[in-house]
Amino acid sequence: MNALHTRVAVSALIIVALCAAQGLAQGTAQGTAQGTAQGSYTIKPLPPGGPTPRLADGHPDFTGQWFPNGAGQGVSGRYGVDPAAIPQFDRKATPEEPPQFRPEALAKIKSMTATELELSKSSVNCMPRGVPAIWLQNPYTTFIVHKPGLFAQLYEVLNNWRLVHTDGRPLPKNPEPFFHGNSTTRWEGDTLVVESIGFDERTYIMPNGWYHSDELKVTERYTRPSMNYLIVEITVDDPKVLLKPWKSAPRRWTLGNGEIYEFYCTNNLELEELEKLRQQELKK
Protein backbone atom coordinates (compact mmCIF):
# COMPACT_ATOMS: atom_id res chain seq x y z
CA MET A 1 0.00 0.00 0.00
CA ASN A 2 1.60 3.28 -1.03
CA ALA A 3 1.35 6.60 0.79
CA LEU A 4 -1.61 7.79 -1.29
CA HIS A 5 -3.58 4.63 -0.59
CA THR A 6 -2.80 4.95 3.09
CA ARG A 7 -4.05 8.55 3.18
CA VAL A 8 -7.24 7.58 1.34
CA ALA A 9 -7.87 4.65 3.68
CA VAL A 10 -7.28 6.78 6.79
CA SER A 11 -9.58 9.51 5.44
CA ALA A 12 -12.28 6.96 4.73
CA LEU A 13 -12.03 5.57 8.26
CA ILE A 14 -12.26 9.09 9.71
CA ILE A 15 -15.36 9.83 7.62
CA VAL A 16 -17.01 6.56 8.66
CA ALA A 17 -16.25 7.25 12.35
CA LEU A 18 -17.54 10.83 12.11
CA CYS A 19 -20.66 9.70 10.30
CA ALA A 20 -21.38 7.13 12.99
CA ALA A 21 -20.89 9.74 15.72
CA GLN A 22 -22.99 12.30 13.87
CA GLY A 23 -25.71 9.77 13.23
CA LEU A 24 -25.90 8.95 16.92
CA ALA A 25 -26.00 12.61 17.83
CA GLN A 26 -28.72 13.31 15.30
CA GLY A 27 -30.71 10.34 16.44
CA THR A 28 -30.71 11.83 19.92
CA ALA A 29 -31.16 15.46 19.00
CA GLN A 30 -33.99 14.75 16.60
CA GLY A 31 -35.91 12.49 18.93
CA THR A 32 -38.54 15.12 19.61
CA ALA A 33 -38.84 16.43 16.09
CA GLN A 34 -38.72 13.26 14.12
CA GLY A 35 -40.21 10.78 16.54
CA THR A 36 -37.19 8.58 16.12
CA ALA A 37 -35.27 6.33 18.45
CA GLN A 38 -31.56 6.58 19.07
CA GLY A 39 -29.23 4.90 16.63
CA SER A 40 -26.98 5.53 13.70
CA TYR A 41 -29.76 5.36 11.12
CA THR A 42 -33.32 5.52 12.32
CA ILE A 43 -34.95 5.34 8.88
CA LYS A 44 -33.89 2.20 7.06
CA PRO A 45 -34.78 0.42 3.82
CA LEU A 46 -38.13 -1.31 4.04
CA PRO A 47 -37.77 -5.10 3.75
CA PRO A 48 -39.71 -6.89 0.98
CA GLY A 49 -42.48 -8.02 3.35
CA GLY A 50 -44.74 -10.98 2.73
CA PRO A 51 -45.95 -12.50 -0.52
CA THR A 52 -47.64 -10.54 -3.27
CA PRO A 53 -51.27 -9.88 -2.38
CA ARG A 54 -53.69 -10.97 -5.09
CA LEU A 55 -57.12 -10.03 -6.38
CA ALA A 56 -59.95 -12.52 -6.48
CA ASP A 57 -59.11 -13.18 -10.14
CA GLY A 58 -55.56 -14.23 -9.18
CA HIS A 59 -53.72 -11.19 -10.56
CA PRO A 60 -51.46 -9.15 -8.27
CA ASP A 61 -53.26 -6.50 -6.24
CA PHE A 62 -51.44 -3.15 -6.45
CA THR A 63 -53.58 -1.49 -3.79
CA GLY A 64 -51.65 0.60 -1.29
CA GLN A 65 -50.07 3.95 -0.54
CA TRP A 66 -46.70 4.12 -2.27
CA PHE A 67 -43.63 6.23 -1.49
CA PRO A 68 -41.05 7.07 -4.20
CA ASN A 69 -38.13 5.81 -2.13
CA GLY A 70 -36.94 2.67 -0.37
CA ALA A 71 -38.13 3.61 3.10
CA GLY A 72 -41.92 3.32 3.01
CA GLN A 73 -42.14 6.77 4.61
CA GLY A 74 -41.14 10.36 3.86
CA VAL A 75 -37.39 11.02 3.81
CA SER A 76 -37.12 14.66 2.71
CA GLY A 77 -35.64 16.94 5.34
CA ARG A 78 -35.30 14.14 7.88
CA TYR A 79 -32.26 13.20 9.90
CA GLY A 80 -30.88 9.71 10.40
CA VAL A 81 -31.93 8.39 6.98
CA ASP A 82 -29.89 5.45 5.70
CA PRO A 83 -28.70 6.55 2.23
CA ALA A 84 -29.69 3.10 0.98
CA ALA A 85 -33.32 3.96 1.79
CA ILE A 86 -33.47 6.98 -0.54
CA PRO A 87 -33.03 5.98 -4.21
CA GLN A 88 -35.68 4.21 -6.24
CA PHE A 89 -33.14 2.13 -8.11
CA ASP A 90 -29.50 1.14 -8.02
CA ARG A 91 -27.74 3.12 -10.72
CA LYS A 92 -24.98 0.51 -10.94
CA ALA A 93 -27.20 -2.58 -11.00
CA THR A 94 -29.86 -1.12 -13.29
CA PRO A 95 -28.37 1.92 -15.03
CA GLU A 96 -30.75 4.23 -16.80
CA GLU A 97 -29.59 5.47 -20.18
CA PRO A 98 -30.14 9.16 -20.92
CA PRO A 99 -32.72 9.96 -23.60
CA GLN A 100 -31.38 10.28 -27.14
CA PHE A 101 -32.93 13.51 -28.44
CA ARG A 102 -33.37 14.44 -32.07
CA PRO A 103 -31.03 17.37 -32.88
CA GLU A 104 -33.89 19.85 -33.25
CA ALA A 105 -35.38 18.74 -29.93
CA LEU A 106 -32.04 19.08 -28.17
CA ALA A 107 -31.59 22.56 -29.64
CA LYS A 108 -35.04 23.55 -28.41
CA ILE A 109 -34.31 22.27 -24.90
CA LYS A 110 -30.92 24.00 -24.80
CA SER A 111 -32.46 27.29 -25.87
CA MET A 112 -34.46 27.53 -22.66
CA THR A 113 -33.14 30.01 -20.12
CA ALA A 114 -32.73 28.94 -16.51
CA THR A 115 -35.90 30.73 -15.50
CA GLU A 116 -37.89 29.39 -18.45
CA LEU A 117 -36.81 25.91 -17.43
CA GLU A 118 -37.93 26.57 -13.89
CA LEU A 119 -41.28 27.96 -15.00
CA SER A 120 -41.87 24.84 -17.12
CA LYS A 121 -41.79 22.58 -14.08
CA SER A 122 -45.01 21.23 -12.69
CA SER A 123 -43.62 21.61 -9.21
CA VAL A 124 -43.38 25.35 -9.86
CA ASN A 125 -46.36 26.18 -12.06
CA CYS A 126 -48.86 23.86 -10.30
CA MET A 127 -49.97 22.26 -13.57
CA PRO A 128 -50.62 18.52 -13.42
CA ARG A 129 -47.45 16.51 -13.92
CA GLY A 130 -49.25 14.13 -16.24
CA VAL A 131 -48.17 10.69 -17.43
CA PRO A 132 -45.41 9.54 -17.36
CA ALA A 133 -43.94 12.37 -15.25
CA ILE A 134 -46.15 11.47 -12.32
CA TRP A 135 -44.14 8.23 -12.08
CA LEU A 136 -40.77 9.78 -12.91
CA GLN A 137 -40.62 13.15 -11.15
CA ASN A 138 -42.96 12.99 -8.18
CA PRO A 139 -41.57 13.21 -4.65
CA TYR A 140 -44.99 12.68 -3.06
CA THR A 141 -47.05 9.58 -2.49
CA THR A 142 -49.52 7.79 -4.74
CA PHE A 143 -52.45 5.77 -3.44
CA ILE A 144 -53.53 2.95 -5.73
CA VAL A 145 -56.96 1.36 -5.46
CA HIS A 146 -57.04 -1.80 -7.55
CA LYS A 147 -59.88 -4.18 -8.25
CA PRO A 148 -60.86 -6.28 -11.27
CA GLY A 149 -61.65 -3.87 -14.10
CA LEU A 150 -60.25 -0.76 -12.43
CA PHE A 151 -56.80 0.57 -11.54
CA ALA A 152 -57.28 3.92 -9.78
CA GLN A 153 -54.31 6.14 -9.04
CA LEU A 154 -54.77 8.92 -6.47
CA TYR A 155 -51.83 11.29 -6.62
CA GLU A 156 -51.19 13.24 -3.45
CA VAL A 157 -49.47 16.04 -5.34
CA LEU A 158 -52.02 18.62 -6.48
CA ASN A 159 -54.86 16.21 -5.60
CA ASN A 160 -54.72 14.72 -9.09
CA TRP A 161 -56.28 11.36 -9.90
CA ARG A 162 -56.37 8.93 -12.80
CA LEU A 163 -58.70 6.04 -13.52
CA VAL A 164 -57.24 3.32 -15.72
CA HIS A 165 -59.87 0.84 -16.89
CA THR A 166 -58.58 -2.71 -16.99
CA ASP A 167 -61.65 -4.14 -18.68
CA GLY A 168 -59.95 -4.68 -22.04
CA ARG A 169 -61.23 -1.57 -23.77
CA PRO A 170 -59.01 -0.55 -26.72
CA LEU A 171 -57.28 2.77 -27.30
CA PRO A 172 -59.52 5.43 -28.88
CA LYS A 173 -58.96 6.19 -32.56
CA ASN A 174 -59.08 9.95 -32.10
CA PRO A 175 -58.05 10.50 -28.51
CA GLU A 176 -58.76 13.72 -26.73
CA PRO A 177 -55.48 15.06 -25.31
CA PHE A 178 -55.47 14.40 -21.57
CA PHE A 179 -52.75 15.08 -19.01
CA HIS A 180 -52.87 11.39 -18.08
CA GLY A 181 -53.46 10.19 -21.63
CA ASN A 182 -55.88 7.55 -22.90
CA SER A 183 -55.04 4.02 -21.84
CA THR A 184 -55.53 0.37 -22.61
CA THR A 185 -54.21 -2.48 -20.48
CA ARG A 186 -53.21 -6.12 -20.65
CA TRP A 187 -51.61 -8.66 -18.34
CA GLU A 188 -48.31 -10.30 -19.22
CA GLY A 189 -48.07 -12.89 -16.46
CA ASP A 190 -47.98 -10.92 -13.22
CA THR A 191 -47.12 -7.67 -15.00
CA LEU A 192 -49.85 -5.14 -15.72
CA VAL A 193 -48.97 -3.34 -18.95
CA VAL A 194 -50.63 0.05 -19.52
CA GLU A 195 -50.26 1.64 -22.97
CA SER A 196 -51.31 5.24 -23.39
CA ILE A 197 -51.59 7.80 -26.18
CA GLY A 198 -53.24 11.20 -26.60
CA PHE A 199 -51.46 13.51 -24.16
CA ASP A 200 -51.81 17.18 -23.39
CA GLU A 201 -48.68 18.80 -24.83
CA ARG A 202 -48.16 21.12 -21.89
CA THR A 203 -46.51 18.42 -19.78
CA TYR A 204 -42.84 17.52 -19.58
CA ILE A 205 -41.39 14.02 -19.24
CA MET A 206 -38.66 15.22 -16.89
CA PRO A 207 -38.02 18.58 -15.19
CA ASN A 208 -35.08 19.26 -17.50
CA GLY A 209 -36.95 20.65 -20.47
CA TRP A 210 -37.73 17.22 -21.97
CA TYR A 211 -40.97 18.09 -23.71
CA HIS A 212 -43.11 15.74 -25.81
CA SER A 213 -45.05 15.77 -29.05
CA ASP A 214 -48.54 14.69 -30.09
CA GLU A 215 -47.03 11.33 -31.08
CA LEU A 216 -46.04 10.43 -27.52
CA LYS A 217 -46.78 6.84 -26.59
CA VAL A 218 -46.13 5.70 -23.03
CA THR A 219 -45.92 2.12 -21.80
CA GLU A 220 -46.04 1.51 -18.06
CA ARG A 221 -45.21 -1.90 -16.63
CA TYR A 222 -46.36 -2.54 -13.06
CA THR A 223 -45.24 -5.46 -10.91
CA ARG A 224 -45.54 -6.17 -7.17
CA PRO A 225 -42.89 -8.77 -6.35
CA SER A 226 -43.77 -8.73 -2.64
CA MET A 227 -46.12 -7.06 -0.17
CA ASN A 228 -43.98 -3.93 0.35
CA TYR A 229 -42.64 -3.27 -3.15
CA LEU A 230 -44.19 -1.84 -6.29
CA ILE A 231 -41.98 -1.72 -9.39
CA VAL A 232 -42.84 0.70 -12.18
CA GLU A 233 -40.97 0.68 -15.48
CA ILE A 234 -41.69 3.33 -18.09
CA THR A 235 -41.02 3.35 -21.83
CA VAL A 236 -41.34 6.65 -23.70
CA ASP A 237 -41.76 6.46 -27.46
CA ASP A 238 -41.90 9.82 -29.21
CA PRO A 239 -40.41 9.81 -32.74
CA LYS A 240 -40.74 13.58 -33.13
CA VAL A 241 -38.53 14.18 -30.09
CA LEU A 242 -36.44 11.04 -29.53
CA LEU A 243 -34.10 9.14 -31.86
CA LYS A 244 -35.15 5.92 -30.15
CA PRO A 245 -37.58 4.94 -27.35
CA TRP A 246 -36.33 5.63 -23.84
CA LYS A 247 -36.73 3.08 -21.10
CA SER A 248 -36.54 3.89 -17.41
CA ALA A 249 -34.90 1.73 -14.82
CA PRO A 250 -37.30 -0.43 -12.83
CA ARG A 251 -38.18 2.11 -10.14
CA ARG A 252 -39.18 0.82 -6.76
CA TRP A 253 -41.96 2.36 -4.69
CA THR A 254 -42.46 1.20 -1.12
CA LEU A 255 -45.60 0.66 0.90
CA GLY A 256 -46.58 3.38 3.37
CA ASN A 257 -49.02 3.56 6.24
CA GLY A 258 -51.95 4.76 4.13
CA GLU A 259 -51.84 8.43 5.07
CA ILE A 260 -52.30 10.70 2.05
CA TYR A 261 -52.84 14.41 2.48
CA GLU A 262 -54.67 17.23 0.73
CA PHE A 263 -52.48 19.26 -1.63
CA TYR A 264 -54.47 21.92 -3.45
CA CYS A 265 -52.05 24.50 -4.82
CA THR A 266 -53.77 27.66 -3.60
CA ASN A 267 -50.97 30.05 -2.73
CA ASN A 268 -48.31 29.91 -5.43
CA LEU A 269 -46.19 33.01 -4.83
CA GLU A 270 -43.22 31.75 -6.80
CA LEU A 271 -44.60 32.45 -10.26
CA GLU A 272 -44.53 36.20 -9.66
CA GLU A 273 -40.91 36.15 -8.51
CA LEU A 274 -39.77 33.92 -11.35
CA GLU A 275 -41.55 36.12 -13.88
CA LYS A 276 -39.53 39.07 -12.53
CA LEU A 277 -36.34 37.08 -13.05
CA ARG A 278 -37.43 36.13 -16.58
CA GLN A 279 -37.98 39.78 -17.42
CA GLN A 280 -34.47 40.51 -16.11
CA GLU A 281 -33.10 37.76 -18.36
CA LEU A 282 -34.86 39.22 -21.41
CA LYS A 283 -33.24 42.61 -20.79
CA LYS A 284 -29.73 41.09 -20.86
Binding site: S11, I14, I15, L18, C19, Q22, G23, Q26, A29, Q30, T32, A33, Q34, G35, Y41, I43, P68, N69, Q73, G74, V75, S76, G77, R78, Y79, G80, V81, P83, I86, A114, T115, L117, E118, K121, S123, V124, C126, L136, Q137, N138, P139, Y140, E156, P207, Y261, F263, Y264, C265, T266, N267, N268, L269, E270, E273, L274, K276, L277, Q280
Partner: protein, 133 residues
Protein backbone atom coordinates in the same frame (compact mmCIF):
# COMPACT_ATOMS: atom_id res chain seq x y z
CA UNK B 1 -3.64 24.19 8.35
CA UNK B 2 -4.90 21.29 6.27
CA UNK B 3 -6.41 19.23 9.07
CA UNK B 4 -9.37 21.50 9.91
CA UNK B 5 -10.25 21.66 6.23
CA UNK B 6 -10.18 17.88 5.98
CA UNK B 7 -12.24 17.58 9.15
CA UNK B 8 -14.75 20.06 7.74
CA UNK B 9 -14.92 18.17 4.46
CA UNK B 10 -15.53 14.93 6.34
CA UNK B 11 -18.32 16.50 8.39
CA UNK B 12 -19.88 17.86 5.21
CA UNK B 13 -19.68 14.40 3.65
CA UNK B 14 -21.51 13.01 6.68
CA UNK B 15 -24.16 15.68 6.41
CA UNK B 16 -24.73 14.78 2.80
CA UNK B 17 -25.19 11.16 3.77
CA UNK B 18 -27.24 11.57 6.91
CA UNK B 19 -29.72 14.26 5.91
CA UNK B 20 -32.01 13.09 3.19
CA UNK B 21 -31.94 15.50 0.31
CA UNK B 22 -35.26 16.68 -1.05
CA UNK B 23 -36.36 14.52 -3.93
CA UNK B 24 -34.53 15.42 -7.09
CA UNK B 25 -37.82 16.08 -8.78
CA UNK B 26 -38.42 19.12 -6.64
CA UNK B 27 -37.89 22.47 -8.25
CA UNK B 28 -34.59 24.26 -8.14
CA UNK B 29 -33.90 26.36 -5.08
CA UNK B 30 -31.16 28.24 -6.92
CA UNK B 31 -33.54 29.56 -9.56
CA UNK B 32 -35.30 31.81 -7.09
CA UNK B 33 -33.12 32.06 -3.99
CA UNK B 34 -29.54 33.30 -3.64
CA UNK B 35 -27.28 30.77 -1.94
CA UNK B 36 -24.58 33.44 -1.59
CA UNK B 37 -26.90 35.53 0.58
CA UNK B 38 -27.77 33.23 3.44
CA UNK B 39 -27.77 34.41 7.04
CA UNK B 40 -29.10 33.82 10.52
CA UNK B 41 -32.25 35.48 11.82
CA UNK B 42 -33.53 35.68 15.38
CA UNK B 43 -36.91 37.00 16.36
CA UNK B 44 -40.45 36.20 17.42
CA UNK B 45 -42.79 34.00 15.40
CA UNK B 46 -45.98 35.98 14.79
CA UNK B 47 -48.07 34.30 12.08
CA UNK B 48 -48.38 31.19 9.94
CA UNK B 49 -49.96 30.87 6.48
CA UNK B 50 -50.22 27.09 6.02
CA UNK B 51 -51.01 26.58 2.33
CA UNK B 52 -49.68 24.72 -0.69
CA UNK B 53 -47.32 24.62 -2.41
CA UNK B 54 -45.38 26.33 0.41
CA UNK B 55 -46.35 27.56 3.85
CA UNK B 56 -45.05 30.97 4.88
CA UNK B 57 -44.34 31.99 8.43
CA UNK B 58 -43.83 35.53 9.61
CA UNK B 59 -41.27 36.61 12.15
CA UNK B 60 -40.55 39.90 13.88
CA UNK B 61 -36.78 40.01 13.39
CA UNK B 62 -34.82 42.07 15.89
CA UNK B 63 -31.71 43.80 14.55
CA UNK B 64 -29.79 46.83 15.71
CA UNK B 65 -32.57 47.89 18.03
CA UNK B 66 -35.20 47.71 15.27
CA UNK B 67 -37.95 45.18 14.67
CA UNK B 68 -38.95 44.29 11.09
CA UNK B 69 -41.34 41.59 9.95
CA UNK B 70 -39.90 39.00 7.56
CA UNK B 71 -41.66 36.20 5.68
CA UNK B 72 -40.05 32.78 5.33
CA UNK B 73 -40.91 30.13 2.78
CA UNK B 74 -40.70 26.47 3.84
CA UNK B 75 -41.07 23.00 2.35
CA UNK B 76 -44.56 21.87 1.33
CA UNK B 77 -47.02 21.14 4.17
CA UNK B 78 -46.92 17.44 3.29
CA UNK B 79 -43.13 17.28 3.64
CA UNK B 80 -43.16 19.21 6.92
CA UNK B 81 -45.91 17.01 8.31
CA UNK B 82 -43.89 13.90 7.49
CA UNK B 83 -40.61 15.22 8.91
CA UNK B 84 -42.14 16.10 12.26
CA UNK B 85 -42.52 19.88 11.95
CA UNK B 86 -46.23 20.07 11.31
CA UNK B 87 -48.67 22.96 11.53
CA UNK B 88 -49.26 22.43 15.24
CA UNK B 89 -45.54 22.79 15.99
CA UNK B 90 -45.61 26.25 14.42
CA UNK B 91 -48.87 27.20 16.17
CA UNK B 92 -47.46 26.12 19.51
CA UNK B 93 -44.60 28.56 18.98
CA UNK B 94 -46.55 31.66 18.00
CA UNK B 95 -45.29 34.68 19.99
CA UNK B 96 -42.21 32.73 21.02
CA UNK B 97 -38.55 33.06 20.06
CA UNK B 98 -37.24 31.43 16.91
CA UNK B 99 -33.85 31.15 15.20
CA UNK B 100 -33.72 30.64 11.44
CA UNK B 101 -31.03 30.06 8.85
CA UNK B 102 -32.34 31.27 5.51
CA UNK B 103 -31.40 32.67 2.09
CA UNK B 104 -32.59 35.84 0.42
CA UNK B 105 -34.61 36.19 -2.76
CA UNK B 106 -32.75 36.69 -6.04
CA UNK B 107 -35.19 39.42 -7.05
CA UNK B 108 -34.31 41.47 -4.02
CA UNK B 109 -37.83 41.13 -2.64
CA UNK B 110 -37.66 42.94 0.68
CA UNK B 111 -37.85 41.02 3.95
CA UNK B 112 -38.39 37.67 2.25
CA UNK B 113 -36.27 34.55 2.63
CA UNK B 114 -36.37 30.81 2.14
CA UNK B 115 -35.89 29.04 5.45
CA UNK B 116 -33.47 26.10 5.60
CA UNK B 117 -33.25 25.21 9.26
CA UNK B 118 -34.84 26.62 12.39
CA UNK B 119 -34.92 26.17 16.14
CA UNK B 120 -37.77 26.97 18.45
CA UNK B 121 -37.31 27.33 22.20
CA UNK B 122 -37.05 23.54 22.58
CA UNK B 123 -33.63 23.78 20.89
CA UNK B 124 -34.33 21.04 18.37
CA UNK B 125 -32.77 21.73 14.99
CA UNK B 126 -35.48 21.26 12.36
CA UNK B 127 -35.00 21.21 8.61
CA UNK B 128 -37.90 23.12 7.12
CA UNK B 129 -36.54 23.88 3.66
CA UNK B 130 -33.68 23.24 1.31
CA UNK B 131 -30.25 23.95 2.77
CA UNK B 132 -28.05 25.76 0.28
CA UNK B 133 -25.03 26.96 2.18
Amino acid sequence: MKSPKRFGAAVLACGALAIAAPASAHHSFAAEWDSTKCRDFTGTLRKLDWQNPHPYFFVDVKENGKVEQWSFQAYSPVTLRRNGTDRQVFLDNIDKDVWIRGCLSKTGKPNAAAAGTLKFSDGVMRQVGQIQD
